[in-house]
Symmetry: C2
Subunit: 501 residues, 2 copies
């Protein structure tokens, strides 16, 4: 192990910074704003947070935690449950943390993932005292090599006063060279970000750090918590087919070629399942320009369908993770991990003309989408990058099953209870019932497509009844609504356990 550490710690002047997790955790003070590496349970700081959990058993202290995106249980479950997190952003996905957020015990600020780096530059979160960053290696010329994700680590390392490195020696050295680290200058001083193809490398192999800021290096062998996605099911298969058929129609209409365009696919089981649908399709030479690479992408690479995948993180199921991470050499020339400021950058998303597929919690008859809030009040995960992609992509596609909770909830409602993506950012809506292509349509033109093509049959009549009544009451206005009854479905659900009237 000593040899491994020496090999991974190329910058020899830092050898005396190697300490225990407890010693590193002791550096953090009550009230600190702490940046951490990690994006969708990948490449997150793990051992120092667990030492903070231990410390919290004997001492009351709280910190604010800002990251790339969601972290694994070390932070978003154990540290949260220990009462150490005062405020958290910009994304989370652990039931334990979600529960604390919705009881008002943790403040949570979700937001567009492309915005976070600018907010750090502007010192909006407050001075960042520490960045805790998992690294695969520190090279002799001072580059910190990330592990399974890049996320916001470059900007956090740049702006933090101090850095703690978790040097994870279980991360394969074949990760070195996979990352492409490029950090734009501040606004007003920067030129174009020169990515013009998903495959472009524009930066450096790691995060250039000021060694003086490194206050501790902790050796870690802990691996990422695996992805929790569930396999495709009959309905996600139908949704995938609906997407494929829609894309075939786009080719027929001359709007896409058979090579399609670089694809972004959101986080979670539904988006993964829909992407998996490409495997048995005729599509080839596909490129991915996404946030997170989930299982489906590696299956598609293995199947020869995907030639290149760019993202900011790799989050895999336990089984596939073992296979992929032990054979990274096999994927090295087909992968690129970038900062999320680059993967989610409107400039690049629009330039490349992505096909973007993200999951919705619910959509309404006019095409507004709720991605985050159950019944308008309780946070699920967060908006993540869905807004960065949906608004700027060539095709902003949202997918959802038409119903939830055994049919007692309709995913198509009169008005969504929280708006994350407005009618102007939702190009196409896909459920297991069908496809609604909303581009270029006025609100009232969208209604029949959404109700007839996307809603579950059990709710169609009820949706039409709402709409027809609203048309009558408003004199057929631009966007008919009856504000007295618009949320009655949620009220009914809360009282009677069903949205069926």
């Amino acid at each position: 192990m000593k040899a491994t550490i020496e090999k991974r710690l190329g910058l020899k002047e830092l050898a005396d910074k190697v300490v225990s997790a407890e010693e590193a955790a002791a550096l953090i003070s009550d009230g600190d704003v702490v940046g951490m590496s990690g994006f969708t349970r990948a490449g997150d700081a793990k051992v120092v947070p667990l030492a903070l959990v231990e410390r919290a058993k004997n001492e009351k202290f709280q910190i604010d935690v800002y990251t790339g995106a969601s972290l694994g249980p070390e932070v978003d479950r154990y540290l949260a449950e220990a009462g150490v997190i005062r405020k958290r952003g910009p994304y989370q996905g652990e039931p334990a943390l979600r529960n604390l957020i919705n009881k008002g015990e943790v403040l949570y600020v979700d937001g567009h993932l492309s915005h976070v780096a600018e907010l750090v530059r502007q010192n909006i979160y407050g001075p960042i005292k520490f960045a805790i960053i998992e690294a695969c290696a520190i090279t002799k010329d001072g580059y910190l090599i990330p592990t399974n994700s890049v996320g916001n680590s470059p900007i956090l390392a740049d702006f933090a006063e101090n850095i703690i490195v978790e040097l994870n020696i279980s991360c394969s050295e074949s990760f070195i060279g996979i990352h492409d680290i490029y950090v734009p200058e501040k606004q007003g001083d920067r030129g174009p970000i020169p990515v013009v193809s998903a495959t472009d490398r524009i930066g450096e192999i790691g995060i250039k750090i000021d060694p003086k800021k490194i206050k501790a290096i902790v050796i870690s062998e802990n691996t990422d918590a695996p992805s929790l996605i569930v396999p495709p099911d009959e309905e996600t298969d139908i949704m995938a087919n609906n997407l494929l058929n829609f894309l075939r129609d786009e080719i027929k209409a001359g709007r896409l070629t058979s090579k399609l365009a670089p694809i972004q696919s959101g986080v979670g089981s539904v988006a993964n399942a829909v992407l998996q649908g490409f495997q048995d399709s005729e599509f080839e030479d596909l490129e991915i320009y996404s946030e997170v690479l989930q299982d489906a992408v590696f299956h598609l690479i293995d199947a020869g369908k995907v030639t290149f995948a760019s993202a900011t993180s790799i989050t895999l199921s336990e089984e596939l993770g073992k296979e992929v991470f032990e054979n990274m050499d096999k994927y090295a020339d087909k992968l690129c991990l970038r900062p999320q400021e680059i993967t989610n950058q409107p400039e690049i998303i629009r330039r490349l003309g992505l096909i973007s597929v993200n999951a919705a919690l619910e959509a309404d008859i006019y095409g507004n989408v709720n991605s985050t809030h159950v019944s308008g009040t309780r946070m699920m995960n967060g908006i993540g990058g869905s807004g960065d992609f949906a608004r700027n992509a060539r095709l902003g596609i949202f997918v959802t099953k038409s119903y939830a909770k055994g049919g007692t909830i309709s995913s198509i409602v009169p008005m969504v209870s929280h708006v994350d993506h407005t009618e102007h950012d939702v190009d196409v809506l896909i459920t297991e019932q069908g496809v609604a292509d909303l581009r270029g349509l006025a609100p009232k033109e969208r209604v029949p497509l959404i109700i007839e093509n996307c809603a579950h049959p059990d709710y169609k009549e009820q949706l039409w009844a709402y709409y027809n009544d609203a048309v009558k009451k408003t004199g057929n206005s631009q966007t008919p609504h009856n504000l007295e009854k618009v949320f009655s479905w949620y009220v009914n659900y809360a009282k009677n356990g069903t949205m069926v009237e």
Copy 2:
């Protein structure tokens, strides 16, 4: 006049295309999709539309009309009232058209103004049969020189099957050289858009056209309908001061320098009045990178406060318009008119780090903004470019008076009745009551700032009562709401003429 026409019509092969407005209007067929020049009543086609109005007296026909943004009364009043417009996009602002839209007699699809060019490229509006474009001149090398706006004219001229030119000889020749026409390649084939400063010129002086597509040239001397903005009042003066004080605090915090950053200011009286507030301030060397230049910008140029202004249109009050348009030479080196795909491009807005100021109809206690729909149903104007700017600017600022209709309406409500800008796109909210800086805050942290700093005193108690009840009912969830009562203020207003409970 003949000499003027010869001078303005440099491409001599087109001389035989000069026809009357009636002859040009006769080329349009029932069912045609027609693109028109014009952006906020500036540079719009005028004489052919009026001939279409005449034609409609004896013939029933309908067309779809897509433009830069809102047009003057020739199209958005008279042509609409003649029943000729079946569908209209992407923006309008005439009471007559608004009325028809809200009676369901005209379909209206508003949307982000930066999206329109991509939708045209993708043929989403249907094949564009005719583009009717007002021009100041057609040069001998085939450039069509726009007049007071560029808007979507380049992309419409490129994709339309046929072009009708309104050669407006009342437009001063000093407009030649003010425009900077740059049209990106299609998505996937394009590189960066090379604007790195508000003053950069990256394109050509006019729209390069295929002369074969020009089917008619109509000589016009009609001037644009003047802007309808009203002068600043006591409350907009206070709002302007609130903005200036906020910017001073940003300088103190080290986030801005005294030169600020390029400013975007929305369309309408309130945004104009707030911008006018810079005149008596200490700020100098200001740059504008906006959609529309209204009166305030020219006052600021005259006062030596603004050194350069980039936009896609110039819309002035009658009095100021006469002065400016007859003395364009004076402004030529301080102005640039670009296509709206460039002025509103997220790539450039984020690169330059704009300060963006747009008007809201209403905002809610969590920071969501409604820019378009009165009581969630009746369209006012449209979202326009506010979303392009707010989401991508360094500072997405929204301004509104805290009340409307003599205090019977509160502009701060429990939940906005229509969401145009989500909580993640609204950085700062300013009313005549004060400023709420929402950056980096969780929803529940925003509530006291919005209620205490921005709401009208008459509604503060009522807002707190709603919020406190919602907190209790939801167990203090991420975004407390009581969906049974959330829109009761609108219901009360509809029934009793006031939101006061």
